[in-house]
């Protein structure tokens, strides 16, 4: 087994091993789907509450977002324990989403200072940046296309009132997270049968 490789066998072996490592899709889309539905549901519940003049609508955010944060942290720690190989794509994505999380947190905590409209505008830009770059790293077009919807929604939000803004953010998150997330999950499942 030691030094009996022909050049053809060497190249075939290298090719086989590199493909084994390369073919592993780095993301199953779970967190995109989770956050997509969570934010879309929060925005739509808040919107319905405003329309029905129910006062507690805004509390849906302060309840569901921290829950989402804790759930994601626990999920992330569990996943990292299971992982046997770390690719460069994994570390690029992880750095991107950590930076995104910090930027999102800082944008949201100063909502009182900047106002709802500016905050939602920047949130949609952040969704767009994170999903566009993820799409580039994963070479996955639906994420890039979805991100463009998020950028478009950010522009639309400038001309909306605060209530309609909730519908705009729901559209932005469904197009940039939920739909690409489900498509990514389908691709992941088909590649990991």
């Amino acid at each position: 087994m030691e030094n009996n490789l022909t050049p053809e066998q060497s190249l075939a072996l290298i090719d086989n091993m590199i493909n084994k490592a390369k073919n592993k899709l780095a993301d199953d889309g779970f967190l995109l789907i989770f956050w997509g539905w969570l934010v879309a549901a929060s925005a739509l519940i808040h919107f319905v509450c405003i329309k029905l003049q129910i006062e507690w609508g805004q509390y849906v955010w302060v309840t569901l977002m921290p829950f989402g944060g804790i759930f994601s942290a626990v999920y992330g720690i569990r996943q990292s324990k299971r992982v046997k190989v770390k690719t460069y794509v994994d570390s690029y994505l992880s750095a991107l989403w950590i930076a995104f999380g910090i930027a999102l947190f800082l944008t949201i905590i100063f909502i009182g200072l900047h106002g709802v409209k500016s905050t939602y505008f920047f949130l949609m830009l952040l969704y767009g940046i994170a999903t566009f770059v993820s799409g580039g790293i994963l070479d996955f077009k639906p994420l890039k296309i979805g991100s463009l919807f998020s950028f478009a929604c950010a522009v639309v939000s400038v001309f909306c009132n605060e209530t309609d803004l909730l519908l705009v953010i729901a559209v932005a998150i469904i197009s940039s997270y939920v739909i690409p997330g489900h498509l990514l999950r389908l691709k992941f499942k088909s590649e990991n049968v």
């Binding site: 060497s10 190249l11 084994k20």
Partner: protein
């Protein structure tokens, strides 16, 4: 005919390990074992040889009270792998 080929890399299992490691940031021992279909004993020996040659770094730690061995390629390993592939390609071109 393989005079120019790096003897450290010109071995089936060591070449497989290095080929896997050039594609990823780091990999666990168990991942390398699964992908190369090798035995733990043989894999350990070949990893040690690659480590002594300076081609890979090996980090041993504990995860959930179980020992874990992580391997990653070094810049010397990447350079050696590049040279190896170049030499193989040259040989193939000459032999055509």
């Amino acid at each position: 005919m393989f005079k120019d080929l790096d003897p450290i890399l010109h071995s089936q299992l060591r070449l497989a390990i290095v080929s896997l490691l050039v594609s990823v940031k780091e990999a666990e021992f168990t991942y390398l074992k699964e992908q190369t279909n090798s035995t733990a004993g043989n894999l350990s020996v070949q990893i040690q040889k690659l480590k002594e040659a300076g081609y890979i770094e090996v980090e041993k730690k504990f995860k959930d009270n179980y020992p874990q061995t992580n391997c990653r390629i070094t810049s010397a390993g990447i350079h050696a792998f590049d040279e190896y592939v170049k030499n193989i390609k040259q040989y193939l071109t000459k032999s055509k």
